[in-house]
């Protein structure tokens, strides 16, 4: 029983480690989606925060 368990788990771990190591053969690449480092200037002309209303709810704290 212990032996069968060890063999199954051992093979699963072996495959996982091998897959991981094979993936390391490649230096991963990615695509850039932002241009934040190329912002030369930023200036906000409008920053309005207008209060509309508020609502209060209450409940029993347990």
């Amino acid at each position: 029983m212990t032996l069968i368990f060890s063999i199954i788990l051992g093979i699963v771990i072996g495959v996982m480690i091998t897959k991981y190591t094979v993936n390391q053969m490649m230096k991963p690449v990615h695509s850039e989606t932002e241009a934040t480092e190329y912002v030369a200037n930023s200036e906000f002309t409008v920053q309005d925060d207008v209060f509309v209303n508020k609502s209060v709810s209450k409940r029993r704290a347990d």
Partner: protein, 343 residues
Amino acid sequence: MEFNPKTQNLKCPFCDTEMGLEEYKKQAGTDASADEKSSAKQPANPDEEIEGYNIYSCESCGGEIIAEEITGTATCPFCGNNIVVKEKFTGKNRPDYVLPFKFTQKEAKTKYKEYIRSKLKFLPNAFIDENHIDQIRGLYIPFWLYSADVTGEGSYKGDKIKTWKEGNVEFTETSHFDVTRKGNFSFSNIPVDASKEMPDDIMDTLEPFDLSEIKEFDMMYLAGFIANKYDVSDEEAYPRAEKRITNSTHAMLSDTLSSYNSTNTVFENIDIDKKKPDYALFPIWFLNTTWNGTQYLFAMNGQTGEFVGNLPCDKNKVTRYGVIVSLISIVLIYIVTSIFVGM
């Protein structure tokens, strides 16, 4: 003469004499000998041919290369097939800017060697024996540098939530706000690669390039290197820059809403005023190897040393490795579980 990345001067490969770019130009300009005159390679008008330089085109992948006149056969840096002269290099193909190489070929070779050495485990022996290292080439990749003035505006519903307790009653107060934001943002020199042959994600990964070191283009920077001519037009490449501008503008607007616990966008509008992009060459140390019909490449940022690459795997080596790792795991797990079961 060849451009020396270490000193940023021109160097004679035979006698090791070095000369600054300005000095060399001056000398070439005043010297009347035909050979020296051909080295003063600044075209005055778009149609003027630049002596000693050709545009080559690859018969297989269609890539176009700007290089000094090559005697004998020359090969395409992207696919390894023969390249042939297509036309003379003229002023109209001239880039606006160039980012000079800072890493030498020797340093690029060392990087590649280290990379190979760290991956020896799975590399096919025949691949190692073939030793491709001398085929690493200094290649200028064409880029469009996009600048734009952007107006971003948006209106949002924002909620601030406060909770407190009185006795055993919990109160939740939600305050509603109408939020308006408008701002002007300017982006400068977002690079988008203009080469069909060079995969976009590879060039993205090699970012950033330090544009503070960019120089007005001068043929001298090409000495000893080859350049890929752009084959993705300004309009074709622009959507990639546009997407990055839109995302970043949205992020800057969103950043100002952080004092709210939650927000909903009512509307958001991003208006981009794109300027005419500049055409620049960026330095890449490049190696493309075809192995069993698949291409593997190594590309290093010639300015920063950052690199990407992939390498072939030997199936037998992988299988052997898998079996050994599995066996070790089995033995270890068996020992550990036996100890626990025995307790």
